[in-house]
C-alpha cells in the first residue's frame, strides 16, 4: 500500500521531502492506485459496523477488539454541502464542504473541489487527494497562532488530505 501511494503521489512526496507539504491525518489512511483513492476504515468483526477513521473499539456495539481493516469505496453520494466564506486562517475562502455517504454506511466530511454552484444533493462524488489548507498560523484551533502543532519549521506547509470531486 505504501509503495503504491508513493508511486502515485510522486509530486507531493517530492514536495514533502523539501518540507513544503504535510499530510492530514499524518498517518495517511488512504491508498491510491491508478488514480483511485480509497480510504482505510475499520469493520467490526462483531456487529459488522464500518467506521472511518478506523477504530480500535467499535463505537456501534462496544466490542473492544476485532476491528478489521477495510478499504472504503471511492465514490459516494452527496448528502449536503455549503460554500464557506468565513473561515479560520489557513483556509482559502471561499471553499466548499460537504457530507458524503459511502455504500459501506459511512458518512465522510470533507472539502469538495470547485464552487458550490454546480453541485446538487444526491449526486455522485469521488474521493481524491489534494490541498485542504495551509499550516501557517493554524488559527483553526484553540491555541491560535502560538498553540497549534505547527510551530517552527512547519509553518507555511500545504496540508494534503482526502477531499471530493463532483462526478458528472
Amino acid at each position: 500500500m505504501a509503495m503504491a501511494r508513493k508511486d502515485n503521489l510522486a509530486e507531493e512526496t517530492a514536495q514533502a521531502a523539501e518540507g513544503n507539504v504535510a499530510y492530514f491525518p499524518a498517518s495517511r489512511p488512504w491508498t491510491e492506485e491508478a488514480g483511485v483513492v480509497r480510504l482505510h476504515g475499520s469493520r467490526c468483526g462483531g456487529c459488522g459496523g464500518v467506521a472511518f477513521p478506523a477504530h480500535n473499539a467499535c463505537p456501534s456495539c462496544g466490542a473492544e477488539s476485532g476491528q478489521d481493516a477495510v478499504l472504503l469505496s471511492q465514490t459516494g453520494t452527496l448528502y449536503s454541502f455549503s460554500e464557506v466564506h468565513v473561515a479560520p486562517k489557513g483556509f482559502a475562502t471561499p471553499y466548499v464542504v460537504g457530507y458524503v455517504d459511502l455504500p459501506e454506511g459511512v458518512r465522510l466530511f470533507g472539502q469538495i473541489e470547485g464552487r458550490a454552484g454546480a453541485l446538487r444533493i444526491g449526486q455522485q462524488v469521488a474521493v481524491v487527494l489534494g490541498p485542504v489548507r495551509a499550516e501557517a498560523g493554524s488559527a483553526a484551533t484553540r491555541g491560535g497562532a502560538g498553540g497549534g502543532g505547527s510551530a517552527g519549521a512547519s509553518v507555511g506547509r500545504t496540508v494534503i488530505s482526502y477531499r471530493f470531486k463532483g462526478l458528472p
Binding site: P53, F81, H85, V97, Y99, A140, T141, R142, G148, G149
Partner: protein
C-alpha cells in the same frame, strides 16, 4: 415535579466589552442576581459557574473579589450548554437538600479571540478539514430545505423576528430592526446562511439564585418554579444520521415534558438555541411546537412572533440578545423568569405561566451536538 425555585436573576448587557475583564463581567451579573433575590453573600452556600472559554477556576476568579470563596465552587464546561448544565447541577443539588441557596453564573468573553468563527478543538478531524460552526448549521439547513421545501426567505423571516424582539430588549447586543431583503442581502457566511442569519460573538454574563421553593417563599421573593432540568449528550454515529431533524433536541425535550408533566401545547414562551436562523426553524419541529416539515409555515403565520401563539425567543435569542457561549443558557433562564413575573415591558408575553428554555452546544465530529439542556419553568 418541582425541583427548585429561582429566587433572583441578573445579567449584564450582552455585547462587545473588550475593556472589561471576564471576572468583572461575571461579578456584575452575580451581584444583580443576589440583589434581585434580596440575599447577601452569606446566604449563598454553593456556586456553579458555566463557561467554555473562561479558563481554569473561572468561578473562583469571579468570587474572590466578592469575598465569597471557601464554599464549594464547581466550574462546568459543556460548550454552548455550559451555563445551562451548571444550572442543572444546582437544581439537583437543591432537590437533594444538599444546599438551600445556590448561585449559578454563566460567563464568557469572546472578544479576546478578535472576531470570526469560534475556535474549535484541534484534534477534531472535521475541524482540520475546514469545518466551522456556520458550515455545520448550513449543511443541516440545506438538507432541511431540500426535504421540506423551506426557502432562504423563511430563514430571513426568522432573522427579522429575532431583530424585532432584540429591538425591545435593552440588554440585547443587537437592537436594530431589519427587513427580509436586508437579511438576504447581507454578506454570505456559509451558504445558505447570510451574516444576519448568524448569531454575533460577544461578551456577557448572567446569574440566577436557585433555592428550595420553601426557602424562596420565606424570603418573600416571587419564586419561579423549575419543573424540569434535563441534560443529554449527542449520540456518536459514524454512519448515516438524519441531519434535517435534531434527534438530540427531540430526546431532551421529550424527557423534560415527561418530567414536568406537560406537553408543547402548554408552553406560553420558548427560548431556543438559535445560533443560526435555520436551527430555530428545525427546533420548532424537534420541540413539538409544530409537526415535521411545518416549521416554515409556522414562521410564515407569525405563530412565534409578537402576539403569536407561542412566542419564541422574546429576548431576541442568540441572534440578537447575543451568544457569549457559556452565558447563554443562564441568560435564557433570566428571560424566562422575568417573562413569567411579567417584568419585560415592550416584549412581555401577556399572562405567561409556563416557559421552556433549550440550549444545545458544541460542534464535534459524529455527534448531533455535544450537549443539549432543556428546562421547564412555571409560576
Amino acid at each position: 415535579m418541582t425541583l427548585a425555585a429561582i429566587a433572583g436573576v441578573g445579567m449584564t448587557k450582552f455585547g462587545k466589552q473588550s475593556e472589561r475583564t471576564i471576572e468583572d463581567i461575571g461579578r456584575e451579573a452575580l451581584i444583580r442576581a443576589m440583589k434581585d433575590a434580596g440575599v447577601g453573600r452569606e446566604a449563598i452556600e454553593e456556586v456553579f459557574c458555566g463557561s467554555s472559554y473562561g479558563g481554569p477556576l473561572i468561578g473562583q476568579r469571579i468570587l474572590r473579589d466578592l469575598g465569597m470563596t471557601g464554599i464549594p465552587i464547581t466550574n462546568v464546561e459543556n460548550a454552548c450548554s455550559s451555563g445551562a448544565a451548571a444550572l442543572r447541577e444546582a437544581c439537583w443539588a437543591v432537590k437533594a437538600a444538599r444546599a438551600e441557596a445556590i448561585a449559578v453564573i454563566g460567563v464568557e468573553k469572546l472578544t479576546r479571540f478578535g472576531g470570526g468563527t469560534l475556535p474549535l478543538e484541534e484534534t477534531d478531524i472535521e475541524v482540520n478539514l475546514g469545518n466551522v460552526m456556520p458550515a455545520v448549521y448550513a449543511m443541516r439547513a440545506r438538507r432541511y430545505m431540500h426535504e421540506t421545501g423551506a426557502t432562504a426567505r423563511h430563514l430571513a423571516m426568522i432573522a427579522v423576528k429575532a431583530h424585532e424582539y432584540g429591538a425591545r430588549n435593552p440588554k440585547a447586543q443587537l437592537q436594530n430592526r431589519v427587513t427580509i431583503e436586508e437579511v438576504l442581502g447581507s454578506c454570505m457566511v456559509a451558504d445558505p446562511l447570510t451574516l444576519f442569519m448568524c448569531c454575533p460573538t460577544g461578551d456577557g454574563a448572567a446569574a440566577v439564585i436557585v433555592m428550595s421553593e420553601a426557602r424562596a417563599r420565606e424570603l418573600g421573593a416571587r419564586p419561579v418554579r423549575i419543573e424540569a432540568s434535563v441534560l443529554q449528550s449527542g449520540e456518536y454515529k459514524t454512519g448515516f444520521r438524519d441531519m434535517a431533524s435534531s434527534e438530540l433536541t427531540e430526546r431532551a425535550s421529550r424527557l423534560a415534558y415527561e418530567a414536568a408533566g406537560i406537553g408543547p401545547e402548554d408552553l406560553d414562551i420558548v427560548e431556543v438555541h438559535d445560533a443560526f436562523a435555520s436551527a430555530e426553524l428545525m427546533y420548532y419541529e424537534a420541540l413539538g411546537l409544530c409537526g415535521k416539515g411545518e416549521g416554515a409555515a409556522m414562521i410564515e403565520r407569525g405563530d412565534t412572533g409578537p402576539g403569536g401563539l407561542v412566542p419564541v425567543n422574546p429576548s431576541g435569542g442568540l441572534a440578537c440578545r447575543g451568544h457569549p457561549v457559556g452565558a447563554t443558557g443562564v441568560a435564557q433562564i433570566v428571560e424566562a423568569v422575568t417573562q413569567l413575573r411579567g417584568e419585560t415591558g415592550p416584549r412581555q408575553v401577556d399572562g405567561a405561566k409556563v416557559a421552556l428554555t433549550h440550549c444545545t452546544g458544541g460542534g464535534i465530529a459524529g455527534l448531533d451536538h455535544g450537549a443539549c439542556a432543556v428546562h421547564v419553568l412555571a409560576v
